[in-house]
Point group: C2
Chain length 463, copies 2
Amino acid sequence: MALLDELAGLLGDELHLSDDARRSRARDTWPRSEFDQWQGRLVLPAAVATPSTTGRVAETVRLCRAHGAPIIPRGAGSGCVGGVLATTESVVISTEGLTGLRSLDPVDGLAAFGAGTMGIDAENRVRQDGFTIGHWPQSIEISSVGGWVATRASGQYSTAYGNIEDIVYAVEAVLPDGSIYRSRPTPRASAGPDLRQLLLGSEGALGIITEVTFSLRPLPEPGVRQAFHFEDMATGFDAVRSVIVPGWRPPVVRLYDAGETRRHFRDHVPQGRCVAIFLHEGPPGHAALEATAVADLCRGGGGEQADPGAVDHWFGHRNIVPTWTELFEQGLIADTIEVATGWGQLARLYKAVIEAINAVPTVIAATAHSSHAYRSGANLYFTFAAQPTDPEEYQSVYDACWTAAMQAATGCGAGIAHHHGIGRVRRTWMADELGDAGVGVLRAVKAALDPDNLMNPGVLVPD
Amino acid sequence: MALLDELAGLLGDELHLSDDARRSRARDTWPRSEFDQWQGRLVLPAAVATPSTTGRVAETVRLCRAHGAPIIPRGAGSGCVGGVLATTESVVISTEGLTGLRSLDPVDGLAAFGAGTMGIDAENRVRQDGFTIGHWPQSIEISSVGGWVATRASGQYSTAYGNIEDIVYAVEAVLPDGSIYRSRPTPRASAGPDLRQLLLGSEGALGIITEVTFSLRPLPEPGVRQAFHFEDMATGFDAVRSVIVPGWRPPVVRLYDAGETRRHFRDHVPQGRCVAIFLHEGPPGHAALEATAVADLCRGGGGEQADPGAVDHWFGHRNIVPTWTELFEQGLIADTIEVATGWGQLARLYKAVIEAINAVPTVIAATAHSSHAYRSGANLYFTFAAQPTDPEEYQSVYDACWTAAMQAATGCGAGIAHHHGIGRVRRTWMADELGDAGVGVLRAVKAALDPDNLMNPGVLVPD
């Protein structure tokens, strides 16, 4: 195969052809592809490239294009919507060779990292200099900073510190034609459309992110933690709204339904109640002021103070999730589905999606929490589990749960994806999200930048 | 002319062919085109359309396309970079027929307006229901809400409330092919690139914005105003940085150099000093806490408390600007140039641009202030005036001042445009801003969405 010979000449030991190398980069953590692997049906790519410089990424892209080979960009593979899935003729370009701090400017509070740097490593590095990135996705130990950008990720502190698009200062990326784009490093611009936004959420379909510069914050003093429990989600949402609307912005604002409260906080919250947990941080005096105000608002909204150990418990366990394979082996198929909508629709959306999932045969659990709040609304993050009698039914039950949830969510007018992205699992509903004209724009941009459709074909853009 | 007949059939009295109608929509407030008008050289469009519905805008676009006629989208014409400039064969599509509140949702805090609604009318309308848009550009009385989006505008409260991209919830636009795009109204999405961002800053080149939905804030209590004066801009910037970095966010943060302090605040601030003015707002207790902290930080950074009347004076006069023609008649050519950079470069940028402009023959004044602060830097907003002996030299002196300022700014690594946009005056420097790869992306997107280059040709996209 001429392409592999040329790639070997270009990349040397940064090209990997072994079964192990190809198997470990063939997919992300999408339950459907993990199930395929569990069943011994995983398709492997032709090769895995781990170029160690941006220039080598660009040359690898150009070689693949010259040979018409599909390119699968891959970060750390923690995505869960099927954004990475190899085909036999494809070349996975992994950013794992692009790691480490490239620059740190303590005056402007900027840190640039190779895109393959693991999130936790980047965060720990800037903490050495007294900063925080302020972005803490549950995946922080298994995700890369480039992946954060490619998927438009959210972190657990987003209500105060914003999502990844509010934290990224500049990006470098290799475009589908092999050119290298670097956004102008400036705090704000009115210089045409913000082109970084074409890469934020591009899911590998519009380029390979090679470097990310963050606008940092000083590492805050330890914050104030508190929790309140409510009769139901509707009451909890009203209380959270009463906090957000006047302008309070606790970094952590999470509201759990009774099912998840029982699952995660049984030692701290009475059964049947919905718990809201808060972390308050800020400049001197702010956290105390905010905590007092939020406590008054929650109590005024029908909340009862919960054992603050609930928040400590959450901090201690927030990054622990089982693998899908562990669940498969217990006879379970499960997933999470996050969507977002305005305050006025949240209670209805919660009820509609829970009911829709519960109506799917063999479903044994459907629960939700809200983890990100905004001036005009919030997200809802559903978890479902089903227990089909035969593993052969896993995929059809899984698809039925997704369809039920997406139909219920779009029926309520919700956005179809809050922070996990589209990948393959949500592609069917992109026309609901974008409308026909929006799909037309997305297709036109994709065709303009990647006319041969070689960059991560099969994700994001609906057929 | 077949096109005008067909447009008349479609639009009836929403088509305007009189000299007056065409002259009053032929340009924005770019000094170069205002000078041309003053000299009697203004070119008029073939027609002005003021469609009163989004559907009619779409049909007007389709008709113009079918006839190959250039389309000049126009809001209220307050832009100042040459974003609106008619050619003889062009059709101006003005949004002035798309006015008024279309919906207001007090629960989610959302208000949708026709794109041609004047900014001050939109703000006054939401105030009736206890809200504020939180966007107050100096042009608020003469600019439209659609223009805010098309130019990626900033308002005077941006340091707390963000720029237009942080305030817009949803947009509706007619795309170059005549299709109607409506973004999904949702508080946040990870559903591919944020397509709204292609319209924010599109300057009429990628579509006509027809409706804007804002995510509102409750109208705040009257805030706390204070001012401090500093020895020089470098000291002032250090003090402002010391406020912003730990997380304080006064809505108004403005730092004026000695020249502008003398011009605007002579009754309130000693001569030769640089004044910083602050407005503090927020949920109960926040403004007082922040004002005390900011006062300590400013005094600790070498600032002296100024007469708070300085801030009142600014509030009383902030929307007053002379017309360029008034200056032409006094023998002056003048303009403003806003750029942005990181904290570490601001003092150097200030000095470099002021020196560069002052080196242009006949320049009599070059001053600056900073009006928008961010975690990693701030903007600088320069004003220059020159007094050539002959009006025939106005344009060459004007161009020389812009070239001097842009070369100095790009030499310092600054972004070329903070909030006025590109239009025609900055197009030459777009390659500095975007790099070759970025220019390639912008051109590719433009060609994909507007293959015949009929939407506002001549702006934004470099040749």
